[in-house]
């Protein structure tokens, strides 16, 4: 079974306790009515969908209940690192260092 490290519980926990919650670091526009339809569409639906390192939100639903962020490789499905919600996107060197 895939183990995911919850940064709040500070422990490796079974995948079935977690739910995926989409791409991370997407800021909601503060004034949606000022956006064009094109910009609003981009905010709602357009995601990076990278091949390789992907920043994504997860929730430790059947655990501490908290949302957090993770960097996962979309090719190997391996998690490079997880970090608390609200922290900035880790840099490439931080990710490289954290990768097991």
């Amino acid at each position: 079974m895939l183990l995911i490290r919850c940064p709040y519980c500070a422990a490796e926990r079974p995948e079935v306790e977690f739910v995926y919650a989409g791409e991370a670091h997407i800021a909601r526009p503060s004034d949606p009515s000022a956006l064009t339809d094109e910009q609003w569409k981009n905010h709602l639906f357009i995601r990076t969908n990278p091949r390789g390192a992907h920043f994504e939100r997860w929730r430790h639903l059947h655990g501490c209940g908290r949302f957090f962020n993770a960097v996962r490789d979309t090719v190997t499905d391996k998690f490079a690192m997880t970090y608390r919600a609200g922290l900035p996107r880790p840099t490439a060197s931080e990710i490289k260092e954290a990768r097991p």
């Binding site: 709040y8 519980c9 926990r13 079935v16 306790e17 059947h62 655990g63 501490c64 209940g65 908290r66």
Partner: protein
């Protein structure tokens, strides 16, 4: 009020051989879900009459009161039924100076004790956690088959499950099957 319809009442699983496996419903108790910010933990501890643990997974008890830390700002509080109104009143009086949420979930859950040398084996049949890593006196929310449970390791061979009434029969059925397998040695 506690619901009239109570799951698992009077049911018991016991395998032959002393101390192998005993599964039993725990007497009703008062249960609260408490959410409160870091800075007010001391106040909340005083109101409950038991120091709230600050680490996720940690537990503490004082007399018959039990505090389980489930998340960064979340606790499950357990106490004897007769203390329920007093606890609620104590916290209610604190609302003006301590913003918090205290929800009575006494009727929502059933407590099940799983005890014996076969306890971890029985739990492992449907729980994905590595129970060897779980220290005595720690607690966690997790899943048991498809049902969400709170699992509290009270002793090396003694666990307490807290599960919603609606999932209780399901959890019980699996424990029963596991108990039967343990009894037959398969």
């Amino acid at each position: 009020m506690l619901q009239e319809h109570r799951h698992l009442e009077g049911r018991r699983i016991a395998t032959q051989g002393p101390g192998v496996l005993r599964v039993e419903r725990i007497e009703d108790c008062a249960r609260f879900s408490l959410r409160v910010a870091d800075g007010n933990i001391a106040l909340a501890s005083k109101a409950f009459g038991c120091d709230l643990p600050r680490t996720i997974g940690a537990t503490s008890d004082s007399g018959a009161r039990l505090a389980l830390c489930l998340g960064p700002d979340e606790w499950q509080l357990l106490a004897p039924l007769d203390g329920r109104d007093a606890i609620e009143a104590k916290f209610a009086a604190l609302y003006p100076k301590m913003p918090h949420s205290l929800v009575d979930v006494s009727h929502r859950e059933v407590g099940i004790v799983v005890e014996g040398t076969g306890a971890t084996l029985a739990l492992r049949s449907a729980c994905p956690l590595d129970l060897r890593d779980m220290a005595v006196a720690t607690v966690t929310r997790t899943v048991f088959d498809k049902a969400q449970i709170i699992l509290f390791r009270e002793g090396e061979n003694r666990f307490r499950i807290e599960v919603w009434q609606s999932f209780a029969d399901h959890v019980w059925g699996i424990l029963q099957a596991a108990g039967r397998e343990i009894e037959l040695g398969i």
